[in-house]
């Protein structure tokens, strides 16, 4: 045996049960498992080869909370010492009192003064336990309660595409529409600006979501934004 043999090309779409490699030369990573001398995919995704490790990146499915992700959530309950938030995942997040604000909040304070039911909040995940208890914090740059604007939901796996390389896509949209936009890793997006511009932003984001696998997408989005806003965009497009 010794060396392994890769049976699928990198960046190919693989499905559960598909044999990715044989032999002992490769190691199973996320989204794969070993059965004897075979490495098999255990979810639908793209195959990534990192040295000797094979893993799959999911293309579909619910958002699963991960440490250090910046997400947007909605307050669904107020607890004894914090808030419970819905984060577009099978598991709710808990924002404890000490992580809610830089200022001191007394134990017996009225918590609705800080976050009311149905408020939307930008926050960062500090910890996820094995039982999927999610802890979040609001202390940090750009983490705060959201006022005004509108919320839309997008596919969580398309979020990297909406943000673009080093934020290129999202900053282009922001520049064109003058809207404030925050994209949570969990697929919740907050948009605030002039009503017409908000609509253009929503359309641009939906366009990215639908055509995320096409090449020359940045160019297309740029053309759409220029046409919709009537402004000329001076951004160099590198796809």
């Amino acid at each position: 045996m010794g060396d392994g043999k890769l049976l699928v090309k990198e960046k190919d779409v693989v499905v559960p049960g598909e044999v990715l490699a044989t032999g002992m030369g490769y190691l199973p990573g996320h989204g794969t498992y070993r059965d004897d001398n075979k490495i098999i995919a255990n979810r639908l995704g793209l195959l990534i080869v990192e040295g000797k490790v094979l893993k799959t990146v999911p293309l579909t499915g619910r958002y699963l909370p991960k440490k250090n992700d910046v997400i947007i959530g909605k307050v669904i309950d107020i607890l004894m010492s914090g808030w419970k938030l819905e984060i577009n995942s099978p598991y709710p997040a808990v924002l404890p009192l000490k992580d809610a604000s830089f200022s001191y909040i007394a134990k017996d304070a009225d918590l609705t003064k800080y976050f009311e039911l149905d408020d939307y909040v930008v926050m960062k995940i500090t910890n996820v336990t094995s039982q999927k208890l999610v802890d979040v914090t609001c202390k940090g740059q750009g983490l705060h309660k959201l006022r005004g604007g509108r919320i839309i939901h997008v596919n969580t796996h398309k979020v990297p595409r909406i943000i673009g390389k080093k934020g290129s896509m999202i900053s282009m949209i922001k520049k064109a529409t003058n809207c404030k936009v925050i994209v949570g890793q969990n697929g919740i997006v907050w948009i605030s600006g002039e009503p017409e511009m908000e609509l253009i932003t929503v359309n641009a984001i939906k366009m990215i979501e639908e055509q995320s696998h096409m090449s020359g997408l940045t160019e297309k989005v740029k053309a759409y934004l220029e046409k919709a806003t009537g402004k000329k965009l001076e951004i160099s497009v590198k796809d």
Partner: protein, 239 residues
């Protein structure tokens, strides 16, 4: 027992030939994952929702997620109107479908959560539980659920000692011959059989022979299921 032999099938298929199979992933937009599976004149639609929070809370299991299957024949799906709502038959099929899928789904990844599978049959002409299992298996993969492999299912019949793959409605209702209908579901990578039922009479030898004959057929069905998934995600490489 009749002495006449069943040496030619009513629709002139080969003895190990299935009816025409068609499969498609992602047919229901609002679901997390969905699929259509058609075999001859039997069509099943499956929709997967979740993993999502499980209520009421006492059903939650901290060690693992749970799978809930629901099989339903639409009122217009058969010759005679099917009374809407759960029946003794549909409850049984929901239960065996769940047990057929359970061995492949990695529910430990989703503690306290639930994965819901709804199977709707729009037209039926024998083999509906097998079509439902095939559709559900594609839909689970489409929903990004982690699973060891797909599950493929088909029925196999014994008509006057002749083993016949994928009975259709006409063959199932032959009255002048001895007909046994045996639905089988298998995990292709391990050849583990996850569903085995029998309606009618067949000898032990015939049953064992039927299982052997059906294995290559099930592998071909698995290929169709995989192709349906790859078709949906075709070209989705890169970020």
């Amino acid at each position: 027992m009749m002495s006449s032999e069943y040496n030619k099938r009513l629709d002139r298929r080969g003895f190990d030939e299935t009816r025409l199979i068609e499969a498609k992933a992602g047919v229901i937009k609002k679901a997390d994952g969905s699929a259509m599976f058609r075999i001859g004149k039997t069509t099943a639609y499956a929709a997967v929702y979740g993993p999502r929070e499980l209520h009421p809370k006492h059903l939650q299991n901290p060690k693992t997620g749970i799978l809930r299957c629901n099989y339903n024949m639409m009122p217009f799906s058969a010759e005679e109107r099917v009374r809407p709502g759960p029946s003794r038959r549909s409850k049984e099929i929901s239960m065996v479908t769940e047990k057929a899928l359970l061995p492949v789904v990695n529910l430990e990844d989703y503690p306290n959560a639930v994965v819901d599978v709804f199977i709707e049959l729009t037209e039926t002409d024998a083999g509906s539980r097998c079509a439902g299992i095939c559709a559900a298996s594609i839909a689970l993969a489409d929903a990004g659920i982690t699973m060891k492999d797909m599950v493929s299912a088909v029925s196999v019949g014994v008509i006057n000692h002749q083993i016949v793959v994928d009975l259709d409605g006409e063959e199932e209702h032959l009255t002048n011959l001895d007909v046994a209908d045996i639905p089988i579901a298998m995990v292709p990578s391990t050849e583990e059989i996850t569903l085995l039922q029998m309606d009618g009479k067949a000898s032990k030898e015939e049953l064992l022979k039927a299982i052997e004959i059906v294995k290559p057929v099930l592998r071909r069905i698995t290929e169709t299921q995989r192709k349906a998934l790859k078709e949906k995600y075709k070209g989705q490489g890169g970020l």
